[in-house]
Amino acid sequence: MRRRKPINRHWWGLIFVLPGVLYFAVFSIFPVLFGFTLSLTDYDLLDPPNWVGLDNFRELFSDRLFLTALGNTLVFVAGATVPVWVASLLAALLFDQVFRGRTVLKTLFFLPVLPPVVVAAVVWRMLLHPNGVMTWLFGAWRGVTEIDWLSNTVLAPLSMIAVHDWAAIPFFMLIWLAGIVGIPPELRDAAHTDGATPLQTFWHVDLPQLRSTAVLVATLSTINAFQTFTLQYVLSTDPGGPANSTLVLGLLVLKYGFQYFRMGDAAAVSVVLFAMILAVTAGQLWFNRRAG
């Protein structure tokens, strides 16, 4: 009896993982595979799906709307990664210093992480009203009373980026800080006794130690930026507007799927988006492996 028990026992593990595995099979893995299949069909939810092979993908690359969305997404990704990477690192280094009121100020700086994205979008929609608060702050001193932050095709995408970065910078500061805490203090002390300047210490001691954090911030901010959608839906004058200047891939999926009922095209767009995100993940793995 005693000898048989350890053999039976391990089956309990299978029983324990089974609810999760079944759930993910039904609500994650199956829909993904179904989505891949769907991207090879034309389907409008009414008539049965019609197999078209790779036609949807071929058409995408001559599809104006898709190319616009792709371009807008890449611009957004650029604006939501590089500035965020730099600014969040600077913020982390700033709040890593010792000064009076540090904890309170850090908490205030961190506040934008709390509200859900939709709340940020609604609040900023008011702040960015043409005659609103931001116009007053940026325009009043030079006599400007109206700025079309959200209804100008050049300004609107930049406003989206600014609002995104406002919430992203404090979040990534947190990730940097977690990395900085992991640097052995002896290393810094040694650099200090060797007469290194703070900048030298940062460059030669901190940064190499923060390598994996740096890669993490870069990839995570890229992945998040690729998936952007809520801001462009809620903050813009109309979803993706004005004149499709804030139409991003995440929004195009929704537009094709639930506005035009072109499920095949929507699935094809989402597959392209998925592929780009996977490429970023693969890049991260490659980077980390090379770093050893």
Binding site: R9, H10, W12, G20, V21, S28, F109, L111, L174, V253
Partner: protein, 268 residues
């Protein structure tokens, strides 16, 4: 010097939140007043909140968001811990494969799921209903991943001692493993709550009845009302309501809050 930089940065970043909260207590014309009112001149306790609740079922939204988030938290925490424990402490055939299977789902962006999942859920007949709103996304693979790590660190001797005492495996999970995982479970619960509370895309597509809408989607009723001028005072009141639960978690569980956010970011 550092203080000045930090104070400046904190002011810039906290300003929108400050403006949101104070505007929820202003008289309506004050909200858009130029130059801006840093504090309400005509302080009103509940007028904006009442207005928001009259224009749209604000408290119903709040209830729906709470229900959705709590179910997601309960399911992810319990079944995540159960599966994480199973993966960490038992050697059953297919273990590596099944773990990979679960972890794969972490890499799937929701955008690729939304269309096929919508068709699937519609086929189940759950469109525009609580099951349709809540069940997809109810469990997050991150929970399994995180709990497996923490469960691996539990000493095997502890489990052996439990078995000596004649405890069944499931009983042991409930009585020994869950309590030991409690700190990690708290972080997990907080992060899942934040995610589910802010969920926007799925509720937007699966629900049409305004009675079934969550707060995140309902908020747009005030900023972009149908054939009606935006009601910024009410919008700020509703936005404040939507932020309070997360702000409370931050205030009361700050350490777990930060841990949860960091853990979720570092998972990859």
């Amino acid at each position: 010097m550092w203080f000045v930089c930090a104070a400046l940065a904190a002011t810039v970043f906290a300003f929108p939140i400050w403006f949101m909260v104070t505007s929820a207590f202003k008289a309506e014309p004050e909200v858009q007043a130029i130059p801006i009112h840093w504090l309400p001149h005509d302080f009103q306790w509940f007028a904006r909140f009442r207005e928001a609740a009259e224009f749209a079922p604000l408290w119903r939204y709040f209830f729906n968001s709470t229900l959705l988030s709590l179910v997601h938290v309960a399911v992810t925490v319990f079944f995540g811990a159960l599966a994480g424990f199973g993966f960490a402490k038992y050697k059953f055939p297919g273990r590596s494969f099944l773990f990979l299977f679960v972890i794969c789902t972490l890499m799937i962006p929701f955008q690729i799921l939304v269309v096929p999942l919508f068709i699937e859920v519609k086929a189940f007949g759950w469109e525009n209903s609580y099951p349709g709103l809540i069940i997809p996304g109810m469990m997050n693979a991150f929970g399994v991943f995180m709990m497996r790590q923490y469960a691996s660190d539990l000493p095997d001797e502890l489990l052996e001692a439990g078995r000596m005492d004649g405890a069944g495996e499931f009983h042991m999970f409930l009585r020994i493993v869950l309590p030991l995982l409690l700190p990690a479970l708290t972080s997990l619960a907080i992060i899942v709550f934040i995610w589910s509370w802010g969920a926007f895309l799925w509720p937007l597509v699966i629900v049409q009845d305004r009675e079934l809408n969550v707060l995140a989607v309902g908020l747009t009723n005030y900023s972009q009302p149908y054939q009606h001028a935006p009601m910024w005072g009410a919008a700020m009141a509703a936005s404040t309501v939507a932020t309070i639960p997360i702000a409370c978690l931050f205030v009361f569980f700050q350490r777990y809050f930060i841990k949860g956010l960091t853990a979720a970011a570092v998972k990859g």
